[in-house]
Amino acid sequence: MARVVVDVMPKPEILDPQGKAVTGALARLGFSGVSVRQGKRFELDVDGELTEDRLAEVRRAAETLLANTVIETFNVRVEEPPASQDEEEDEGEPDEPAEQAELATQAG
């Protein structure tokens, strides 16, 4: 099982009323000098081995449903498992998580 994370953000030129509301609320709470844009994070637990084909499928899923590329950009990346799990599960393949992380792509 591998976890793939899809981050979706409103395009920079598209107004983000939610981000603006959060920015305003933060300022009222004394957190000044920050400007917020709000997006979405999807965690996809993918069964079986995460091959390049499976990752391409996730990208297609992101483009088809998770993001509306008219107004949003998305980023697909493989989340590395926690270090303690690494030692147990990745015997003899210490390079794998790093390789997977490189598959992260930008699209939209």
Partner: protein, 230 residues
Amino acid sequence: MGRRIGPKIGVVTFPGSLDDEDALRAVRLCQGEPVPLWHGNDTLDDVQAVILPGGFSYGDYLRCGAISRFAPVMTEVIKAAESGMPVLGICNGFQILCEAHLLPGALIRNDVRVFVCKDQDLRVESVDTTWTSELTKGQEITLVLKSGEGGYVADEETLRRLEGEGQVIFRYINGNPNGSYNDIAGICNERGNVVGLMPHPEHNVDVLTGPTQDGRAIFSSVFNFLSAKV
């Protein structure tokens, strides 16, 4: 009564649709034959036009219209729209049409960050569609607007094309209620058979429940188009 049976107009009900009953009623009041359609069906029951009504289909989860766009009935609606059948998307229906790429652009949260519910003044900008032929270019009408995510956005090239090709059909006047680019309240596809608008013509068909009956022209336009076609 001897009333002639008007054209069969389908109204799709999705889980979370609110204005499907009003749309069916508007069709009936304007002398059409309303046909309820269910989102989970993969047939359009021989209707001659389809209305996607307002509401909060699938709870507006993910994005407004994003899930509904993949409902089984939408496969048929998209096919029918591409072959020229008149399709009208009202409010949430407009959002669904944009998500389905039957119309360009997208609807985002109102720039005023509140749900807007008001009698909205509009100018009719184009009458070359199956849903607006009974209106007059430049005519000013008033329809109910009630939406939280009614801000129409599109890239500059799309906006130029919409404006240049007469695909902007309704524009907000006397104030832009939601931050829509170019004050756009409604658009159509290149062919003019698919129309989406944020305001609700189905709420403006009866003296009892609306300040105007300006919505009637939308329904009679499509009836005339359909009877002329036969």
